[in-house]
């Protein structure tokens, strides 16, 4: 979708619900519409905290921009995934769990549901009885996460249709980005949501354990009635808050040019507010947290400001008026680390050490999704790497810039780890399982999905920097964001943009790194020096005088072909860098010098994180014992301590 089409004026009042809004959902220098606004949701919901249920009426206005008459409409009912025979539970059980949820035994607390009690198409009557559950992905007859209805007559291109839906949502105890914990509720994927007409067909996948979501842009006007002691936060901006006089209140929210709506509530929430002054004006940061997490409040604010500032400068402006950050309570971690438009959930601990940047990492990552998912709304079911992978790459860039490249994840008690290394840790065990281009929901397992989608994607982009340069890739992401924000681009759109900005065809790279499963492993096979006069009987070696022949052999052990650089150091302090196209299985370099080789190192700047084995990337002629002695010292101490503890018992 081209950008200029997004700003075409729409019929007044068609999709804009601004009459309800008293506050703009955008930053001061931004005015909508920013997207095509295919949908307009109006939801009136009532929350029952005792039952963890929501009873709601939903009015969905759908605008047919497909260019074809439509008489079939699929809808997501995501909460039905949390039922024993549903596809989500089957897959999570198969893979031994989902994130921190183990899904080994069924517990009634895990049960969730979306029950549609009434489905009416305005002007066409009540179609409740025509609702039919479908399972387009796996044919599972017990999966009720997608239903479809056929309208008695088609909706013509350019015309709109209105659905009036009554439903009840029952939330599970927090699992997979939604649910309750004690008085806390994260209401995600809670309402019937229409599928996306994409590339000439409906795209409405079942809810899978391995992937996330996909929806059309539009407007949301949501009223939520709940006990008045609850503190609430949601997508968009709050437009009203009225006391109903019966112990409840009704809070209204308004959002434009977003493709989902989530909300949270808890009477124990503390609200911390701050402001980021971006290129399109100030953006309110609204943090909902707990007193027990007080030590992390400033950390959240700092990392968000740092992240927003860098995204604004590197990729483009954040156009919304507000970002709401939810810090789930202890025990509610499964609600953490999730993104919804203008609304993210993070996560921290009571005793979060400052040198452990996990708190910052999660908040940064989820904010990054406002760009890679929120605005550049790729299909998460099919191309998870386009949001998670690009976002993980951005995460590395932001955190490295903020905390240092080698300590951006951990810098604690003498131990360090960079974020790139953390992501590489996901990728290494599954390096040859799934390609990035494989539909994400069909990946081999949860570890393969996360290893490939997050880890390999980030490694792929970080390694690409050695080919096109860091700044060029940054420019490419900027172009990609500005060009495809508020649309649903494909992976080809992304790859094409990088090619275009880099000014070269990178097909050879995409074929291996995106479409293929080739394994990247280059190694130093040999490095030694021999006196050139070795054949003389009484030859003696004299430093600085004897001539040596140095042989260096580099080897490509994997099937991934990539140009690599090697640094050869000699004992006279001389250093040489060689660049090998990496196509052959091996290459030999020979030097004649009055010096012996001291070390050879592939990728001396440590940029190629796709390389599967770092341990064979270098060779030192002089034995290195420091690391061995260090680890052995600690290992021995632990053995001694264990021995002492055992002896204490006897």
């Amino acid at each position: 979708m081209q950008l200029h089409r997004l700003f075409l004026p729409f019929a007044v009042g068609l999709f804009c619900s601004a009459s309800l809004a008293t506050q703009s959902p955008f930053a001061p220098k931004v005015s909508g519409p920013l997207s095509q606004r295919v949908v307009a949701y109006q939801i009136d919901a009532k929350y029952d905290p005792a039952q963890h249920t929501v009873d709601a009426t939903e009015t969905l206005t759908y605008r047919n921009l497909t260019g074809k008459p439509l008489d079939r409409f699929p809808f997501h009912l995501y909460l039905n995934a949390f039922q024993p025979k549903a596809t989500w539970v089957r897959e999570a059980h198969r893979d031994g769990g989902f994130r921190s949820s183990r899904v080994e035994e069924w517990d009634e607390k895990d049960f969730g549901s979306n029950e549609v009690t009434s489905f009416e198409v305005v002007g066409m009557g009540d179609l409740t009885k025509q609702m039919k559950f479908i399972s387009p992905d796996d044919g599972n007859p017990d999966d009720k996460t997608v239903f479809e209805v056929r309208s008695p007559r088609p909706v013509a291109p350019g015309q709109e249709v209105q659905f009036k839906i009554k439903f009840r949502a029952k939330f599970p105890e927090v699992i997979a980005r939604t649910g309750y914990k004690r008085t806390f509720l994260l209401a995600g994927q809670w309402f019937p949501k229409v599928g996306v007409w994409w590339h000439g067909a409906w795209n409405c996948h079942q809810f899978h354990a391995l992937t996330e979501f996909f929806a059309d842009f539009g407007t949301y006007d949501v009223k939520i009635t709940l006990p008045k002691n609850y503190v609430i936060g949601a997508t968009g901006v709050q437009t009203s808050d009225s006391d109903n006089g019966n112990g409840t209140k009704t809070v209204a929210f308004h959002a434009e040019d977003v493709h989902d709506f989530a909300w949270t509530a808890d009477p124990d929430f503390k609200v911390i507010e701050s402001e980021f002054d971006g290129s399109v004006g100030p953006v309110k940061i609204r943090l909902l947290s707990y007193t027990s997490h007080k030590s992390s409040w400033q950390r959240y604010v700092d990392v968000l400001k740092g992240t927003m500032q860098r995204f604004d400068r590197w990729y483009g402006p954040y156009p919304y008026a507000q970002i709401t950050v939810v810090d789930p309570p202890h025990g509610g971690e499964e609600a953490g680390g999730m993104e919804y438009p203008t609304f993210i959930t993070a996560g921290t601990e009571w005793f979060a050490f400052k040198g452990d940047h996990e708190t910052e990492l999660v908040a940064e990552h989820e904010f990054g999704h406002q760009y890679w998912y929120g605005m550049v709304a790729t299909n998460e079911f099919e191309n998870g790497w386009l949001d998670e992978g690009i976002n993980s790459y951005s995460e590395v860039k932001v955190l490295d810039d903020m905390y240092g490249r080698n300590a951006s994840s951990v810098n604690l008690l003498g131990a360090q780890e960079g974020d790139a290394s953390v992501l590489r840790g996901y990728y290494l065990p599954v390096a040859e399982t799934d390609s990035l281009s494989r539909p994400s929901y069909t990946d081999m397992s949860e570890s393969s999905y996360s290893g490939v989608t997050y880890g390999k994607s980030a490694a792929m982009l970080l390694s690409l920097e050695t080919i096109v340069g860091e700044q060029t890739l940054k420019n490419a992401l900027h172009t990609y964001f500005m060009r495809y924000r508020f649309t649903h681009p494909t992976q080809e759109d992304f790859l094409r943009t990088v090619n275009e900005v880099a000014g070269r065809d990178l097909k050879w790279y995409w074929d291996q790194a995106v479409y293929g499963t080739q394994v990247f492993d280059y190694a130093v096979l040999r490095a030694d020096s021999t006196p050139t006069n070795w054949y003389e009987e009484d030859a003696t070696e004299k430093p600085g005088e004897t001539m040596y022949e140095t042989q260096v052999i580099l080897q490509r052990k994997g099937d991934f072909v990539f140009p690599v650089e090697a640094e050869i150091k000699f004992d006279n302090g001389e250093s040489i860098r060689e660049r090998w196209d990496g196509k052959d299985r091996w290459v030999r370099y020979v030097y004649h010098k009055k010096a012996q080789v001291r070390s050879v190192e592939l990728d001396p700047d440590h940029r190629i994180t796709l390389d599967r084995n770092y341990l064979n990337n270098s060779y030192v002629t002089k034995a290195q014992r420091g690391a061995t002695e260090k680890i052995s010292t600690y290992w021995m101490f632990l053995t001694q301590l264990l021995a002492h503890l055992l002896s204490w018992l006897v």
Partner: protein
Amino acid sequence: MTEETMASTKEGLLAAGASLLWRRRGILWWVFAMNIALGAMGTLPAAMQLNKTLHHTLAGEQLFKGFDLGMFYELLRVPEVNLFRFKTSSYVFAVLFAVFMLFISGGILEVYRQDRRRIDTGDFFAASGAFFWRFVRLLLFSVVPFVFLGSLYQQIDKFSDYVGDKVVTDQISFVIWLAGMIIVVLLALFVRLWFDIAKVRAVVLNKRRMWPNMWHACVITVRQLGTLLWMYLRISLVAWTTLLVAFLIWTKIPPTAIWATFVLLELVMLVQLGARLWQMASATVWYKRQAEAVPADFMDFTTPQPQEMPEPEPQLTLYPETELPPADA
């Protein structure tokens, strides 16, 4: 007269125990040496493999000049290096050390009981051997309370999780868990104390039947719980505080100063082992003082049961039932 009895019996138990530990410090050196030796043997296979993998690669620099967790993870991923593969070796040598400590406990307590100026190696090992199987029986008996404590810990953990699910204040579950842990640690100290008193009693009185001895020791420990537990707790606190101080010092040591780290860690081990021996020495001092302060029949706490066979004559002259030999004997 022993040195301890020559000294003022009004000397505090901890000081008397520490003094005894220091006078018989040869034991500490031997225990420490054995701990180092077995620790080194347990580490050797892992160290050899690490050396084989890292000695010709620059990758180790990231572990030496700092500690790169990513590189460490990378190292663990290499099948032949995977350090967890070598944990069995550490376990084996740790168990060997525990068996060794069990074996020499009799000798240690006998030396502490006699408190002679010179330790006769032959006597030491003779006493070790004489009490070994009795202490094995005590160890088997002690499994029951220790398993109970393990089970109690699990229940506390479950309960704190349960409370965490229900209560509004999300830290309450942690507070419950922490309180539960303190109780478990105190109970564990009590069990250790109880069986230490049983061992001391077995050595001092040359008791052979461990079942009644264990129950007598239990009664003694419960009656003097405040004094004894406070004694053990203070020694433990010294050990834990040392650990904390060492940790703080460790954070200041440069990452490449391996020898300094080694020395610090070994000093920590020395203090930990010393604290354990200090507990044993203090328990011995306490028991001997009780023996001297109260009539012999009270020392046994209960009238001998009719079915109990009379104690056979001690085979070693090292175990007088009532009178302690003079220090210069």
